[in-house]
């Protein structure tokens, strides 16, 4: 069993490489060889699987939060006043 594991380790990407591939796969589709290596490794390695799931989770939450927040922001009344005043001054200039 140990020998098989060692052999697999030779063929499959290491955790270190998988961390790079995981990130890369979030942006583009990988060449099939890399994709296969990534998948097989993730099937066997709980830590790398966790890493991949957590990166994906971060992205999902960040994206949904960023979009829901944008509707609620408001210029502070100070900023509003300041901009309006400078705008008016600017407008009056010939």
């Amino acid at each position: 069993m140990k020998i098989i594991m060692r052999l697999m380790n030779r063929i499959l990407p290491s955790c270190r490489e998988v961390s790079h591939l995981t990130s890369q796969a979030m942006d583009e589709s990988l060449p099939w060889r890399k994709r296969l290596g990534l998948r097989l490794h993730l099937m066997m390695c709980v830590w790398c699987r966790r890493n991949a799931e957590q990166l994906e989770l971060m992205r999902i939450i960040a994206r949904s939060k960023a979009h829901s927040e944008i509707e609620q922001v408001k210029l502070s009344s100070d900023a509003q006043k300041r901009i309006a005043e400078s705008l008016q001054q600017n407008d009056e200039r010939p």
Binding site: C15, D27, Q54, M58, I61, K65, I70, K74, I83, L87
Partner: protein, 204 residues
């Protein structure tokens, strides 16, 4: 004006409202848009102001083909891209090697287990339910805090790609970096953020 279609009163298109009302009518929307990309309140406010100045100067170029709001957002968009171009020039000066991994702390470097996780760096299971609005909010707040602690250039890359969902190639263009350079920076940013979240999230 080079446009073929000229509004009847070409000196002042009837569909633009008085510039005095712009801040009231569009200020929040412009600010919200700017903040989404800049994430620095002061800079976002300044950008709203710059946009309205530019709009004031360019009033004559308003063709009436789009709404006033759309027209203003268009001007703001260009301001944002300029802002990133400027930032991108700084980014290009950096040595990508700087971000290409101090992986040594995360992974075993020699021996038969080389490339495997260092035992104390193995990712810990998180208990976050993305469907629970309270947990989601807390998680998001932690993530933002971690982003603030991150190297500004890495944070910018993460924001554009993973929060704003801008296409990979577009992010390269905006920041004037090569795809390889961006890949290295994104990997580094995600890795550091995940680690930061792990440390902070688990302490809650």
């Amino acid at each position: 004006m080079t446009d073929g279609i000229v509004p009847e009163d070409s000196s002042k298109p009837s569909s633009l409202s008085d510039s005095k009302d712009w801040v009231d009518k569009h200020g929040d929307a412009l600010y919200g848009y700017a903040l989404k990309y800049i994430n620095d309140r002061q800079a976002a406010e300044d950008m709203v102001q710059e946009t309205l100045f530019a709009a004031l100067k360019g009033r004559a170029s308003f063709s009436g083909a789009s709404s006033e709001r759309t027209w203003l957002i268009g001007i703001l968009k260009n301001k944002v891209i300029d802002h990133y171009r400027k930032a991108g020039r700084e980014t290009r000066m950096i040595d990508p090697e700087q971000f290409s991994d101090s992986d040594e702390t995360d992974y075993i470097s020699t021996g038969p287990d080389a490339g495997s996780w260092q035992p104390e760096r193995r990712p810990v299971a998180w208990s976050v339910d993305p469907n629970d609005p309270v947990e989601k909010q807390q998680f998001w707040e932690h993530l933002q805090k971690c982003l603030e602690e991150l190297d500004a250039r890495l944070a910018r890359v993460y924001r554009l790609r993973d929060i704003e969902e801008i296409e990979y190639q577009k992010v390269c263009n905006i920041l004037s970096v090569t795809p390889t350079n961006l890949r290295v920076m994104l990997h580094r940013a995600r890795k550091l953020l995940r680690r930061c979240l792990e440390i902070n999230w688990m302490e809650v």
